[in-house]
C-alpha cells in the first residue's frame, strides 16, 4: 500500500493520495483486491462497483477493491505476473479452464478447505453440476462459478420466412441444420454467395466451438485428471468432418477461418442466417439486430450438448487468513440467489444456481424474454470446457489442427492425429 502511495506520489497525483489516505488510517479493514476480466468503464464495471459498494455497506470492515483487467486472456496474464512479482490479487475471476494452470503454478488455494461450516458446504453444492465439472479436480473444489456461459444458435427469423422455413423453429439436429443452411444459402447469377446459411467462428479459440460439435457426437476431449486428451478419437474426427464439410463440401458456411469478433456484425449485416456464439452476446444481439431473431440450443446429433465457458472465482494463496475469509464471504454474497439473478439479467450470463431462477425477479424476466432461458435449459446437456495441465499449449495444439482442417491444408484425421501427438508430448510429464 505504502509503496503504491509512493509511486502515485511520484507521479504527482496528490489528489489520488488524499483520497486513499483514509483507508491507510483505518488499519482494521481487510482489503480484498479483486481482479475482474472486463474492459474498464463499460456497464459491467458499474454493476461490479455498485455490488462491491453494497457488500461493503452490509459488511463494515471489509473493503472490496475491484481491478478491471481486460479480457480473460489478459487477466490470467496479469494475475500470474502479479503473483510472480509478489502482489497477487486476493480474489480473481478467471476462466474455468485456467484451473490446472493455476494449480501447477501454485497460485491458488482450494475452497473446500476454507468453506468448512455446514452452511458453506451446502453453498458449494448449490451450483449447476455442469458448471462444477471444471471447477474441481482431485476431490477438491478450486473454482466457484460466477460469470458463465454456453454456446447457442442465433437465427434470423426473416430469412427463415424467405426460405419458407418455420421462423419459430430452429434446426433440431445436424441433419436439419445442414438442410436449413442449404435452403438459406443464396447465390447471385454468377454463383457468388450473397447470404450464407450458417456461420461457426474459428479464430482465436476454435476449440470451444468445436466442443459444440464433439459433445453432440457423444465424445469428450479430455479426462478429468487433465493429463490425457482424445483428439484423435474417431468420433472427434467425425465431428470435425461435419464442421469442415459445412464449408468445403456443402458450401453453406464461408470458407477459411471465420473471425469471432466480426461474427455478430455479419449477423446484423444479414450476411448469415444462423450463427453460433456465446450466450454472453444476447444483450448485444437484442440491441443491434434490426430484425426478428431467435435463440436455440445447439443442434443435437447422437445427443444434445454444448461446452460451458466463462469464469470462476479463484482464491490466491498469497493472502492472509483474514483476507481469505473476507473473500469467501464476498463470493457467497455475490452468488446468493438474488444477486446471481440480478447479475444474469444485467449481463446476459447464465445465473449459476438453480435457486436464482426461482427468484421473482428472474422468473418475471424470463417470462418476458424467453431466449434468456435457452442457455439455462441447455445446461442439463452441457459438459466441461477443454481444460488440462499446460492448458494454453494443449489447447493451441488443437486450435492449430482445427484451423489446418478448416482451411483445407490437412485432412481432419491427419490434423487431429498431429494435434494428439503434440498434446501427448506436452502432457507426458503429468502422467506419472
Amino acid at each position: 500500500m505504502i509503496a503504491k502511495l509512493k509511486r502515485l506520489a511520484a507521479l504527482g497525483l496528490t489528489a489520488a493520495c488524499v483520497a486513499l489516505l483514509p483507508t491507510v488510517a483505518a488499519a482494521q479493514t481487510t482489503e480484498v483486491s479483486f481482479y475482474y476480466p472486463v474492459a474498464v468503464g463499460g456497464p459491467i464495471t458499474k454493476l461490479v462497483d455498485s455490488m462491491a459498494a453494497d457488500f461493503e455497506k452490509e459488511n463494515p470492515g471489509i473493503r472490496i477493491k475491484p481491478i478491471y483487467s481486460g479480457s480473460y486472456q489478459e487477466s490470467i496474464v496479469k494475475a500470474l505476473t502479479a503473483m510472480k512479482s509478489g502482489e497477487p490479487p486476493v480474489l480473481s475471476v478467471l476462466l474455468s479452464t485456467d484451473m490446472f494452470t493455476l494449480i501447477d503454478e501454485g497460485a491458488i488455494v482450494d475452497w473446500t478447505g476454507l468453506a468448512t461450516s455446514p452452511d458453506d458446504q451446502a453453498w458449494l453444492k448449490s451450483f449447476y453440476p455442469a458448471f462444477m465439472e471444471n471447477s474441481q479436480t482431485g476431490g477438491k473444489i478450486w473454482g466457484v462459478p460466477f460469470q458463465r456461459s454456453t454456446i447457442v444458435l442465433y437465427w434470423n427469423k426473416e430469412m427463415f420466412r424467405e426460405a419458407k422455413l418455420d421462423p419459430n423453429r430452429a434446426p433440431e439436429n445436424w441433419k436439419e441444420m445442414l438442410q436449413y443452411a442449404q435452403k438459406l444459402t443464396k447465390r447471385d447469377a454468377s454463383g457468388n454467395v450473397t447470404q450464407w446459411g450458417v456461420q461457426v467462428p474459428s479464430s482465436g479459440f476454435p476449440y470451444w466451438l468445436f466442443q459444440g460439435f464433439t459433445t453432440p457426437n457423444n465424445v469428450v476431449l479430455m479426462n478429468k485428471a487433465g493429463n490425457q486428451t482424445y483428439y484423435d478419437n474417431p468420433a472427434v474426427i467425425e465431428a470435425l468432418q461435419y464442421w469442415v464439410d459445412l464449408s468445403q463440401k456443402h458450401k453453406v458456411m464461408p470458407p477459411g477461418i471465420i473471425e469471432w469478433g466480426t461474427t455478430p456484425k455479419d449477423f446484423f449485416e444479414k450476411k448469415i442466417a444462423m450463427m453460433w456464439t456465446t450466450t454472453g452476446n444476447l444483450t448485444n444481439v437484442k440491441n443491434n439486430a434490426k430484425f426478428d431473431f431467435g435463440v436455440a440450443m445447439l443442434p443435437a446429433n447422437k445427443r444434445r450438448g454444448s461446452p460451458t465457458g466463462g469464469g470462476n472465482f479463484y482464491l490466491f494463496k498469497k493472502s492472509t487468513p483474514a483476507q481469505q475469509q473476507a473473500a469467501l464471504k464476498f463470493a457467497k454474497w455475490i452468488t446468493s440467489a438474488e444477486r446471481a439473478a440480478q447479475w444474469g439479467i444485467e449481463t446476459g450470463y447464465v445465473a449459476v444456481r438453480p435457486a436464482a431462477w426461482e427468484t421473482v425477479t428472474l422468473r418475471k424476466y424470463a417470462a418476458g424474454f424467453p431466449p434468456a432461458t435457452v442457455a439455462r435449459d441447455q445446461l442439463e446437456f452441457s459438459v466441461a470446457e477443454l481444460s488440462t495441465h499446460e492448458n494454453q499449449r494443449v489447447t493451441k495444439a488443437l486450435n492449430d489442427g482445427l484451423q489446418a482442417a478448416l482451411t483445407g491444408t490437412k485432412k481432419p484425421d491427419q490434423a487431429m492425429k498431429d494435434a494428439q501427438r503434440e498434446a501427448d508430448r506436452i502432457l507426458k510429464p503429468y502422467r506419472k
Binding site: R7, A39, V40, G70, A82, S85, K265
Partner: protein, 277 residues
C-alpha cells in the same frame, strides 16, 4: 534562363505521375478517412457509405464513457514526457562524451551503445520483465520507460551533431573560464537545436504508439497508456464495434495527428538539418 530540373517530369509523364501520386495518397489515407467516416456516423453506416447518412457524436460519447480515457491520456503524457526528458539529458551527456572526450575504451563502449540500435527493448521483453519484477516496478509508468531511456539512436545522433561543432567555439568558451558542463550547455546544446526537435518528435511519436512492452508490464488503469487501454477496450468477447473503436482511435491519436499537421514542415526541416540521411 533557368535550366530545366531533370528531376521534374514533363508533359504526359507529369500528368501520369501526378495521378499515380494521388492514387497512392488516397490509398494511404483510406484508413484514416474510414475512421473519420465511421466515427461520425451511426453504427449501421460503419460498413455502408451513403452520403445522406446522418452525422452524430454519439460514438465519441460512448467511447469516452466506456473506458477511463482521461486517465489513459494522463498516463501516456506522463510516460512520453518522462522518457523524452530523461533521454534528452542522458543522450546529451553521452553524446558529448563520445564526441569530445578522449578516454580509454571509448570506441569499445561506443560499439556497446550501438548494440541497442539492433537489439531494441522489444526483443528482450522476457528478461526485462524478470528484472522489473525483481525491482518491484511492474505496473508503473517508470517501468514502461526505463528500457528506452538510454537511447542508442539519440546518443549516436547527438554525437554526430556535436562533432560538427567547430573546436574553436569550444576552446573560446573554455578560455572564458567555463567548465565542461557549461560549455556543453552554452555552446553545443544551442547549436544542436534542430536535432533535438527531430529526435524529440521521433521519440514522442514512437512512445505514444508503443504497445507490446506496455501491454506486458502494465496491469491497471493507473499505469496503462492509451494504446494498451485501447486494446483492452476493443478486445471484447462480444465482437467488434467499429463505430466506437474508430471514435476511440481518433481520440487517442488526435493530439499527435494535429501536432503533426501543424508542424510537418518543421519536422522535415529538422530532419534535414539534423543531417539524418
Amino acid at each position: 534562363m533557368t535550366a530545366r530540373n531533370p528531376m521534374e517530369p514533363q508533359g504526359l509523364d507529369r500528368a501520369l505521375e501526378t495521378i499515380g501520386a494521388w492514387v497512392l495518397a488516397v490509398l494511404w489515407i483510406l484508413p484514416l478517412a474510414y475512421a473519420i467516416w465511421t466515427a461520425f456516423h451511426p453504427a449501421e453506416f460503419a460498413t455502408r457509405f451513403d452520403l445522406t447518412a446522418p452525422l452524430t457524436l454519439e460514438n465519441f460519447r460512448n467511447a469516452w464513457n466506456a473506458a477511463p480515457f482521461a486517465r489513459y491520456f494522463l498516463n501516456t503524457m506522463l510516460l512520453v514526457a518522462l522518457i523524452l526528458a530523461v533521454q534528452l539529458v542522458l543522450c546529451t551527456l553521452a553524446g558529448y562524451a563520445f564526441a569530445r572526450f578522449e578516454f580509454k575504451g571509448r570506441d569499445v563502449v561506443f560499439m556497446l551503445v550501438l548494440v541497442q540500435l539492433m537489439v531494441m527493448p522489444e526483443v528482450l521483453v522476457v528478461e526485462n520483465y524478470r528484472t522489473m519484477a525483481m525491482l518491484g516496478l511492474t505496473d508503473t509508468i517508470t517501468a514502461i520507460g526505463l528500457p528506452y531511456m538510454a537511447s542508442a539512436f539519440g546518443i549516436f545522433l547527438l554525437r554526430q551533431t556535436f562533432k560538427t561543432v567547430p573546436k574553436e567555439l569550444d576552446e573560446a568558451a573554455r578560455v572564458e573560464g567555463a567548465n565542461a558542463v557549461q560549455v556543453l550547455w552554452k555552446v553545443y546544446v544551442p547549436l544542436a537545436r534542430p536535432v533535438y526537435i527531430a529526435y524529440g518528435l521521433v521519440s514522442v511519436s514512437y512512445h505514444w504508439n508503443n504497445f507490446l512492452w506496455p501491454l506486458i508490464i502494465t496491469n491497471s488503469v493507473t499505469s496503462r497508456p492509451l494504446t494498451v487501454g485501447l486494446q483492452v477496450f476493443s478486445s471484447s468477447d462480444q465482437g467488434i464495434d467499429w463505430s466506437i473503436i474508430t471514435a476511440a482511435t481518433l481520440m487517442t491519436s488526435g493530439p499527435l495527428l494535429v501536432a503533426f499537421l501543424l508542424f510537418q514542415k518543421q519536422f522535415v526541416q529538422s530532419f534535414m538539418r539534423a543531417g539524418i540521411r
